[in-house]
Amino acid sequence: MITAILDTNVVVQSVISTSRAAAARTLDAYFEGRFHLRYCPAMVDEWLDVLLLPSMRTRHGMTDNELQEFVASLLVGGLPFPGETKMSALLTRDLTDTKFLSVAAESKANYLVTNDHRHLLRLKRFQRTAIVTPARFLQALAKNDG
């Protein structure tokens, strides 16, 4: 089974975008059981912090309890990791991105799925983890399914 880490921008976009968007189809693939998630507490906190912003609340319309249910639905199909492996911020040029690389190192996930062209996508790969856009990830899933 393919394993993947989802950047916050992919998680949030997958919730509010139309079903045709690559991020949305990525989340749909998760709900269909086509891959397993890898995550850490800092990632979950960030998903919630962004989804709780007023601008995002207007877009998704979920109550606090519904948001917790949504996050629980992400945790249930994944495995948690500490996300505490020290990473140099020089790697990503952004301290807030290092948690994704920590989980990549700890979990040896196949993919880190992100829309972050500025910091993460330019790395292309970190240890055993390929860093890809949602569109590229969907191609990899299709290949794996076929």
Binding site: S17, T18, F31, F70
Partner: protein
């Protein structure tokens, strides 16, 4: 297994509990040198519970997406990036 709801617990308690299952095999809770319990990750739930949670998550997402029908993808992408940047800016300071 008994179930206790923490829906009405203080935010600090919820955060503590959410941060606990940071290990694939679960976490043992120790008090005064004694193990008083084990906290298992959600991935250890039964198939029935897992299926129900996934179904609910999917319903919530489908409803959320309906709200934004007709909104250009580029507008939503920009808004998401702005929101993520806002949260990360707060974390850096």
């Amino acid at each position: 297994m008994n179930r206790v709801s923490v829906d009405t617990a203080a935010p600090a308690v919820k955060k503590f509990l959410r941060d606990l299952p940071a290990a694939p095999n679960g976490v043992e809770l120790e008090l005064a040198g004694q193990v008083i319990g084990r906290f298992l990750p959600a991935s250890e739930l039964s198939n029935v519970e897992t299926t129900a949670l996934l179904k609910r998550g999917r319903e919530l997402v489908q409803r959320a997406r309906q709200r934004n029908r007709g909104v250009a993808a580029r507008v939503l992408e920009r808004e998401v990036q702005k929101a993520v940047d806002e949260v990360r800016r707060q974390r850096r300071t």
